[in-house]
Symmetry: C2
Subunit: 137 residues, 2 copies
Amino acid sequence: MDQETKELRKAGLKVTHPRMRILQIFEEAEERHLTAEDIYKRLLSHQEDIGLATVYRVLTQFEAAGIVMKHNFEGGQAVYELDRGKHHDHMIDVDSGKVIEFMSEEIERLQHEIADRHGYVIEDHSLVLYVRPKKKR
Amino acid sequence: MDQETKELRKAGLKVTHPRMRILQIFEEAEERHLTAEDIYKRLLSHQEDIGLATVYRVLTQFEAAGIVMKHNFEGGQAVYELDRGKHHDHMIDVDSGKVIEFMSEEIERLQHEIADRHGYVIEDHSLVLYVRPKKKR
DNA sequence: TTACGTGCAAAACTTTTGCATGGAC
DNA sequence: GTCCATGCAAAAGTTTTGCACGTAA
């Protein structure tokens, strides 16, 4: 039994063609971060007959099942990435649109400290740096 | 000449009724963070005849002029707040929807350090903590 | 007077939903 | 066979735009 099938079964989801193909799209893709539209277009270009509504439904289920993470960066469309388990934040090159992942134990620690100081516990968080390449000189 | 007029003039914007009223709505509001819809509803309740499209147009101009800041928190609608100049990040109580502002020099410093290490400079950034009140015991 | 601003309605865009059919187990 | 999943089209929700009219400077 292949990896995708296992992943779907584990999530208690029926193993259907759209779900398999969407998982594969993520695995094949160069970029880790894709919009629903990106995925839909790639399916179309492989002559797949899968509706955009299905893409959204599948992504929503995948998110609930912890298979993907959804991010609301600037610019209307939500982006999704496979949830590989290791938490990280994002840096977006505003010139090229490239997404860089990073992780700082130190920032994580400070966030918890701040929330705690205000009487809260962190449920989730979102840190995005919008960056531009340093000028060389 | 009052404060609102001064602010609009400084931004090179004509002093019109909708622009004045929208500035005032921000100043009167208990919450610092309002959606376009929030503002529109408050105008309606004051019997103002200002269209929602105008609210969006004015907010967009205000953002370009540095009068307000726009945030894309989770949940579809963008929120706007007056730009008082002092940078801060946000903590959102997911139970009540309450928005708490905070600021950490330490986190700011680490962000720059990380961007720099990757060969970038930070153009802008967004840090939002989604939190829940600590359980008492 | 003239360029810019506004209200209204329609359009654009992303995402969700209703419904009849199809497919996994 | 049963229940969940899907495609399609339509709806919903937010934001933008076209256009004719209005108004600040």
